[in-house]
């Protein structure tokens, strides 16, 4: 008997929710309707630190720039989706996204391996995807009209890494590890190909999905003693690998792509990664003069420093809003087709520089950085020193 009232209250609450929710939303829907901007990034799991940064960056941009659209009578909303860094989850979310007619722009993803199949779904309805972080060349090389990115590409990033390894680090030999994902293996192969051209001897090229026990991979590496270990992958796997390698007495220098770019790398590997280098398509907030206020606002609102790609997500969402405004001009409701066409014409100076898209959806000029891990304190990830900066145009699509 004692359980009965609890159950009754629960039923009542549920009933109330069912009745109240549509009522509330129909109240808000006055005016011309709602425009939704979706984000897709990993909000749970090992890469949630970066994925959440993407969501929060977009959220900040929407809050800042939605004024014009609201004046036109639209309500602007952010709908965050969690792709869990898994291709199947990303595609399932994408299907939900295209089913919601109010969603006119997607900001995402973090992982190229998730963005590529998901963008196939967006393409069915010509829904614009502006990516803050996907670097695999295939993302834009397919030539889809609805796919854009504000960052650089791995075929350039791998080369930048190889150049740095040969030129500045003076490496004569390298061992390449990758995580077998589209992104990780892709960038590792570009690194390997160019490093060989520059006379670096590749002592091994190994893919692994292992997340905890790297002993059997490290033993041959230690015996071969390469000058450099390149890890094509993401920090949650590279962190334990680097840590175990140093603990096992490996002396080689470490280098990695932008997947290393998260404060979680030092949280996991601590002092063992201090002094290592990584290339990135997203410089730390400190290298962009315009990003200072962004970083302050972000910290004030969310209580933490922006993770890498948060600024890129901010710009991606801002580009989306600019395109929405252009498509909504003249009073007619913006359609997905109109927004997608408008993104191509956006010329936008944001916090990560001036962005213009070429015919494939790549930025006409992209920045590439080489950075050095400065401290074993995750709080100080933003202080990582920029060692080198290059502005490189996107290569033409290869057939």
């Amino acid at each position: 008997m004692s359980r009965y009232p609890v159950r009754l209250i629960l039923v009542l609450l549920a009933a109330l929710a069912i009745v109240a929710l549509p009522a509330a939303s129909s109240l808000e829907a006055q005016g011309k309707g709602t425009i939704k901007i979706a984000t897709q990034s990993p909000l749970s799991g090992g890469q949630a630190a970066l994925g959440e940064g993407i969501k929060l960056g977009a959220q900040l941009a929407i809050e800042k720039f939605k004024g014009n659209l609201e004046k036109m009578g639209y309500k602007v909303e952010l709908v965050p989706f969690d792709d869990q860094a898994k291709p199947d989850v990303g595609v399932a979310n994408a299907k939900n996204i295209i089913a919601d007619k109010d969603i006119l722009v997607v900001v995402g993803h973090l992982n190229s391996g998730v963005a590529i199949p998901s963008s196939e779904v967006y393409r069915e309805v010509n829904l614009a995807m502006v990516s803050p972080a996907n670097t695999n060349p295939t993302v834009t090389d397919r030539g889809y009209k609805n796919v854009f990115r504000v960052c650089g590409r791995d075929d350039v990033q791998g080369v930048v890494g190889a150049e740095f390894a040969a030129g500045t680090m003076k490496a004569k030999s390298a061992y390449v590890i990758h995580d077998k994902t589209t992104y990780g293996q892709g960038v590792a192969e570009f690194f390997k190909a160019d490093a060989e051209k520059k006379g670096i001897k590749i002592l091994g090229f190994e893919g692994t999905e292992e997340k905890s026990n790297f002993d059997p991979i490290i033993t041959p590496i230690r015996a071969k003693n390469p000058d450099l270990i390149y890890f094509g992958g993401i920090y949650e796997q590279a962190g334990p690998f680097f840590k175990q390698a140093r603990e096992k007495g490996v002396k080689s220098k470490f280098l990695g792509p932008d997947g290393m770019d998260s404060s979680d790398l030092t949280k996991i590997a601590g002092k063992h990664v201090v002094g290592m280098y990584y290339t990135s398509v997203a410089g730390p907030v400190s290298v962009y003069p315009q990003a200072k206020t962004f970083a302050e606002q972000y910290k004030k609102k969310f209580g933490k420093n922006p993770e890498p790609f948060a600024a890129q997500a901010y710009d991606s969402a801002a580009i989306g809003i600019k395109a929405l405004e252009a498509a909504a001009k003249g009073g007619k409701a913006p359609t997905r087709d109109a927004v997608t066409a408008a993104v191509r014409d956006v010329r936008y100076t944001g916090i990560t520089g001036t962005i213009e898209f070429d015919a494939k959806g790549d930025p006409k000029k992209a920045l590439y950085f080489v950075l050095r891990v400065a401290s074993d304190n995750p709080e100080k990830w933003g202080d990582n020193k920029e060692v080198k900066r290059l502005t490189i145009a996107a290569p033409a699509a290869k057939k």
Partner: protein, 323 residues
């Protein structure tokens, strides 16, 4: 092919494999003991194992934020997290048996199996939920104890770290205690009696339910110890870290002959060695055609071969027919 290199790394790979093998052996005990008494595979054991690792890391992190981490001598710390992890995992295993398996004891054999898989998923996400509310973290990092990372150079190409010695010593010690417990005490006799024939054991005045709970307690505690050692050795855990080692340990139990305690140890070590050698040598021997990612395929191919010629596993005995 660089023959000298292959020879040089041999002892190190052997050592890596033995460490991994002991870890598998400790986890495999949980599977094999439960199978021994209930002829049922406790698929939730992989989560019981990782709970031990989480309890260990939580104790260390709590001590560190209380400022006690550096003051306490490391053997005491290790003992503390081992006991904590074993207690938590053992208690969890008993609770899981009481809640999810005992009500299904008389049901057809597939039913508790499904229940076990359900418990496994439930526990994975429960750990994730608790950790995200409690620490807002997915990956938890074991605080480094510098002493444990100290390395002894045995020769120029082989060295061993303190923590590897600790893992091997702890595993050996626990296996020895378990051996004494099962073979030299009245409780052990009761466990073996229940495994042989529940009805007859019950007629001899053995409380079967208590013995089954005890079996889960011991198996869970071994799993918890393995979890703590796993965390200390590899440094990083997340709520899903238990799944793959659990699957491998189950394989090890089958390889050694499921239901057979020494078999679990042998199976664990054989599987650990196979995996380590495959991961280190495959790419060297095939000139990069097969890399370390094929280690599981190699290890499981060997498993299939062994089971073709010895269907009961390496040390397996004929499975008793139930009356």
């Amino acid at each position: 092919m660089d023959v000298q290199l292959l020879i040089d790394i041999f002892p190190q790979v052997l050592l890596d494999g033995i460490i991994l093998g002991f870890m598998y052996a400790l986890i495999a005990l949980g599977y094999t003991m439960v199978y021994g008494v209930l002829e049922f595979i406790n698929f939730a054991h992989s989560e019981i194992f990782i709970v031990g690792a989480f309890v260990g890391v939580e104790i260390l992190l709590t001590l560190r934020s209380a400022g006690l981490f550096d003051g306490v001598p490391w053997p005491l710390l290790l003992l503390l997290i081992l006991v904590g992890g074993m207690a938590a995992s053992g208690a969890l295993a008993v609770a899981v048996e009481r809640i999810a398996y005992r009500p299904l004891r008389t049901a057809p054999r597939l039913i508790p199996l499904i229940s076990a898989i359900g418990v496994s998923f439930f526990l994975q996400d429960l750990i994730r939920l608790v950790e995200s509310i409690w620490r807002n973290e997915f990956n938890l990092v074991y605080p480094t104890m510098d002493v444990l990372n100290h390395r002894f150079e045995l020769t120029e190409t082989i060295d061993i770290s303190v923590k590897s010695i600790v893992v091997i010593a702890a595993a050996l010690l626990m296996l020895w205690i378990l051996h004494l417990l099962v073979n030299r005490t009245t409780i052990g006799t009761a466990i073996r009696a229940v495994a042989e024939d529940q009805a007859a054991a019950s007629l001899m005045g053995i409380n079967v339910n208590r013995i089954i709970s005890l079996t889960f307690l011991i198996g869970g505690a071994m799993g918890g110890a393995a979890g703590v050692l796993f965390g200390v050795q590899y440094g990083l855990i997340n709520p899903y870290s238990g799944f793959i080692p659990g699957l491998k340990a189950f394989t090890a139990a089958v390889l050694g002959g499921i239901g057979n305690i020494p078999g679990a140890m042998v199976g664990g070590i054989v599987l650990g060695l196979l995996e380590a050698f495959a991961a280190s040598y495959l790419s060297l021997l095939t000139g990069g055609a097969f890399g370390a990612e094929y280690k599981d395929i190699f290890a499981f191919s060997v498993l299939i071969l062994i089971l073709i010629f010895r269907p009961k596993g390496l040390l397996g005995e004929v499975v008793r027919e139930r009356a």
